[in-house]
């Protein structure tokens, strides 16, 4: 990530220097402004879902679900940390259902636990599964198509589902193939 950041940043800065020196600072500021706005909207979303998840935890539902998904999640993430696996599975289900904002707090916590346990494989897998977006219904796209006056807004459902399924499977496969062999 450090390399990507450096390359994109330096190239952009160079272009600004050559063509539009005054635009540089304003671009940075506008990015920072967007991040403040986004952080605020994340705060709203986290308030709702973290409340929800705490109730889920204290009612014992989390523990119940955890026992259910443990065998499968254990294989997928190659981890035996029950809490982290539950968070990761909840994260994936929230992604799949397209619950707006809900996957993020779950994913962050699962990632923290995987990283703390130095389980790179699990962290990579979690990242790739999230970054290839397996979502049942592309709600944003359908809403935009509807707004643009499409005759068949849900028309793109099937091709999107197939190609996103493809990217998720491919990503997971690549993580698996590039992982170091597990010590037995």
């Amino acid at each position: 990530m450090n390399a990507i950041f450096a390359v994109v940043f330096l190239l952009s800065a160079l272009l600004f220097l050559l063509f539009d020196p005054n635009g540089f600072l304003s671009a940075l500021l506008s990015g920072a402004q967007k991040s403040a706005v986004l952080a605020l909207s994340l705060l709203f979303v986290y308030c709702v879902w973290l409340g929800f998840f705490k109730v889920m935890e204290q009612s014992g539902l989390s523990a119940k679900l955890s026992r259910r998904v443990y065998p499968l999640a254990k294989k997928l993430f190659r981890s035996s940390d029950q809490d982290a696996l539950l968070l990761a599975s909840e994260n994936l289900s929230a992604n799949f259902l397209g619950l707006p904002g809900a996957p993020t707090p779950l994913g962050i916590r699962a990632a923290e636990k995987f990283c703390a346990a130095k389980n790179d494989y699990a962290a990579d897998m979690l990242f790739v599964l999230n970054a290839t977006s397996l979502q049942l219904l592309p709600t944003t796209v359908i809403a935009l198509r509807l707004a643009a006056g499409s005759a068949a807004p849900a028309d793109i459902f099937l091709p999107t589902l197939i190609s996103t399924l493809f990217s998720t499977l491919l990503g997971a496969l690549l993580v698996r193939l590039t992982a170091k062999r597990r010590k037995k």
Binding site: M1, L15, L42, K54, I108, C115, D124, F127, A154, S167
Partner: protein, 173 residues
């Protein structure tokens, strides 16, 4: 749209079912819910620096014209792979910026008409890829910093291949 109408029932149903279940289990709902909300502020604070850096980066990427140059340079290669040149900017922008690519998608929809081949490709490209850099910022705030390269590359590659597949599917389906 009935399907998505059904899906919009999910969130209220989830809350209703969980809260009823919690009441049966004698959970003090108010105490429990507020205990959860309490964690929201620290979580946002821990994510914020990474979010800020990525969004500044994506702003630079777009406004410096770098994304424009890349789009022009890569368009021929994209067309060869079956990605219409009109959507190559969207394909490049999506990993950086969710809001930017959403705006671009609605521009494409109004420019070419929502049911045109180009718009359908754009929708599939948008829907089947993710804001990879944004996710890397938020999910792995600090903890995994140095090791992010591999998963980022894998995700970008998988998403890109999915766009190619999606454009192909738009022609067939």
């Amino acid at each position: 749209m009935t399907f998505s109408a059904l899906l919009s029932l999910i969130v209220p149903l989830l809350f209703l079912a969980l809260f009823l279940y919690a009441l049966i289990k004698k959970v003090k709902l108010y105490d429990s819910f507020t205990a959860g909300v309490k964690e929201a502020v620290p979580l946002v604070l821990s994510v914020f620096p990474y979010l800020a850096a990525i969004l500044m980066l994506s702003e630079l990427f777009e406004q410096s014209g770098l994304s424009g140059y890349l789009t022009r340079a890569l368009s021929p290669a994209f067309s060869a792979l079956g990605i219409p040149p009109q959507i190559s900017k969207l394909v490049l922008l999506k990993p950086f910026s969710g809001s930017g690519s959403t705006a671009l998608l609605s521009e494409i929809l109004s420019a070419y008409g929502p049911d045109s081949y180009i718009s359908r490709c754009a929708c599939v490209a948008y829907g089947s890829s993710e804001t990879v850099f944004y996710i890397s910022a938020v999910y792995f705030a600090g903890a995994h910093g140095k090791k992010l390269f591999k998963p980022v590359v894998i995700s970008l590659a998988a998403n890109f291949l999915a766009v190619i597949l999606g454009c192909l599917l738009c022609r067939v389906l």
